[in-house]
């Protein structure tokens, strides 16, 4: 079991957002979390990644190298080193930081943690080039500041690029399909499907769009901070037809 969440409660200063979540993901599985706006879907992915805005209670454990780790005791960067990757709904702009510098730094942070020699600029450029091609990203993209003046599709491709680069064990896709053009959606889905098997996915989504490309093993419906129903991919189709009111 890669991720096990028991009775997870998440609060901000004045509001309870997640109210007792239980969830288990096996290695290589794809789970979709669906739910109406404000149900707590995005919060769930941020809490797993360790966003400082939320106070989390309950247990979240991740299995890494056959050892169970209590995620709540790790900082966001340590969680990333364990293999957690959050693809942001709204990827953050980093003015003045070039995408190349950024990608090289995040990749090297993982090499450093493993005790492997870090890559210099030349080595890294060689390493990243095939990944850019896979996502049909132009070379010039590396010289731009991270996510600044990127279109919606470019931002999400950049998230997928980082995913390919870091090869995480657990990927949290927070509304990856919002603000995404059809070509980018197809490319991002291709990346997800290529990593599937080795990597586990938790896909948080409002619509069915991405699920047309990436077929989930399980679907969970989240309403008011609670999982009210779980099922297989047919549940997503049912939600598509009937909305959330019947639940």
């Amino acid at each position: 079991m890669i991720l096990k969440i028991d009775n997870l409660i998440a609060e901000t200063e004045d509001k309870k957002i997640l109210d007792g979540i239980n969830l288990s993901l096996e290695r290589g599985e794809v789970h979709a979390i669906m739910g109406p706006n404000g149900s707590g879907k995005s919060t769930l992915s941020k809490v797993i990644a360790g966003h400082p805005e939320y106070i989390a209670k309950g247990s979240m454990s991740m299995e890494v190298d056959l050892k169970k780790r209590d995620l709540t005791s790790y900082s966001p960067d340590e969680r990333a080193q364990l293999g957690v990757f959050l693809s942001f709904q709204h990827p953050v702009e980093l003015p003045g930081v070039s995408n190349f510098t950024f990608l090289k730094a995040i990749f090297n942070s993982h090499l450093k943690k493993k005790g492997a020699p870090e890559m210099d600029a030349l080595e890294f450029r060689e390493h990243i080039t095939p990944l850019l091609e896979e996502l049909e990203i132009d070379d010039k993209f590396l010289e731009r500041f991270v996510n600044q003046d990127f279109s919606g599709g470019e931002k999400k491709r950049n998230e997928a690029l980082q995913m390919l680069l870091l090869k995480p064990k657990l990927v949290l896709l927070d509304e990856i399909d919002s603000g995404l053009d059809i070509d980018s959606l197809a490319l991002v889905s291709k990346v997800v499907n290529s990593l599937r098997g080795e990597t586990s996915f938790l896909i948080v989504t409002h619509y069915n769009r991405i699920l047309d490309y990436v077929k989930p093993d399980f679907v969970h419906i989240l309403i008011d901070g609670k999982i009210v129903k779980s099922g297989d991919h047919k549940l997503a189709e049912e939600v598509e037809k009937r909305g959330y009111n019947w639940l």
């Binding site: 960067d77 953050v92 980093l94 995040i106 942070s109």
Partner: protein, 345 residues
């Protein structure tokens, strides 16, 4: 007046007609008083309070060339510039043409005065780097004349621990271009008086970077547009602890229509113990100008930090990356390496 005399008494005073001329000016003007708004954040008494013993004052003016020439000192109006000029043996004079000059020293114990005049022709590059210990007082005066059509890249690196009042005066003659960046760290007392005078069609980019984790830094900047000309001033810095201020004053004369001047000061406060004061001052005597100013004081953006950390970068590394990004637009090929080297220390 009494303060001037009591301070001058402490120095090994060398009398020459030049010195006396400026000593008179200093006595008339006096040192800045508490109520002087332009010296609100730096007190004269703090500058002189470290070395009380007369014998610890030692004049170390190391001046190879003596030439006052026909240089016009009427633009000087600062008491500490007068102090330097009333104490130096000679004024250094350097004439540059299409060359690079590296200036600087490590200053140990004592009081140091420097008066330097540089005339720039063609394309020149000056890198100035002074460091000082806590037992140091340093009063440099640098007067740079950019001759007609010349261009100068001027990098000033300040890593002081002592009491320093740095007077820099630049006059930009017709069609000349200045690109300047000052890098400063906090010192016991560090006051920068930077004054830039611009003639027809001259252009200046005046940048400042500060990284302060202790002590005091007071940046005072004044740009005077005497004829139609352009200037951009951008000061950015990181303040962790210590007391920092920025005062940017733009003067556009009646005789300078069509002038463009833009000023920006941005600070990231890393800690509640840091203090930042920012104050613009505009004095515009004609209507046909483009002028803007702005100041922001903020902290490191937590969402940006989380984004980097969620990729595996530690909090400290993430902060450094964001700081480098914040300063990025002030660095260029002439100064990037040297400034970042200072920053890492």
């Amino acid at each position: 007046m009494a303060l001037v005399s009591s301070i001058l008494e402490k120095f090994n005073f060398i009398s020459s007609s030049l010195n006396n001329f400026f000593r008179d000016k200093l006595e008339i003007k006096g040192f800045p008083k508490m109520k002087n708004d332009r010296w609100k954040y730096t007190k004269t008494i703090d500058i002189f309070s470290s070395n009380q013993e007369r014998e610890s004052f030692d004049l170390k003016a190391n001046l190879p060339i003596s030439k006052l020439g026909s240089y016009d000192f009427r633009y000087l109006d600062d008491s500490f510039a007068f102090l330097s000029l009333s104490l130096v043996k000679d004024i250094d004079f350097i004439k540059m043409k299409d060359e690079k000059l590296i200036l600087g020293n490590s200053l140990l114990k004592g009081a140091y005065f420097k008066a330097l005049v540089i005339e720039v022709e063609g394309r020149c590059n000056i890198i100035e780097k002074f460091t000082s210990t806590e037992e140091t007082m340093f009063f440099p005066l640098t007067y740079i004349i950019l001759k007609r059509g010349s261009s100068l890249s001027y990098t000033k690196l300040q890593e002081h621990s002592g009491s320093v009042v740095d007077n820099t005066l630049l006059t930009l003659e017709e069609g000349s271009r200045l690109e300047m960046v000052t890098f400063s760290r906090g010192s016991r007392v560090l006051r920068n008086n930077l004054k830039v005078l611009q003639k027809t069609n001259s252009e200046s980019t005046i940048n400042g970077i500060y990284s302060v984790d202790k002590g005091h830094l007071d940046n005072f900047l004044r740009v005077e547009h005497l004829d139609r000309s352009r200037s951009k001033q951008k000061y950015k810095g990181i303040v962790e602890k210590g007391r920092v201020s920025f005062a940017g004053s733009i003067f556009i004369d009646r005789s300078a229509p069509g002038t463009e001047s833009h000023q920006l000061n941005k600070t990231i406060l890393l800690d509640d113990e840091g203090e930042m004061n920012s104050k613009p001052e505009l004095e515009i005597l004609n209507d046909d100008v483009k002028c803007s100013h702005g100041a922001t004081i903020g902290s490191i953006n937590e969402e940006q930090l989380f984004y980097l950390m969620s990729r595996g970068v530690t909090r400290n590394e993430a902060k450094l990356m964001l700081i480098n990004g914040f300063l990025n637009d002030l660095l260029d090929k002439n100064n990037r390496e040297e400034v970042l080297a200072c920053f890492k220390r």
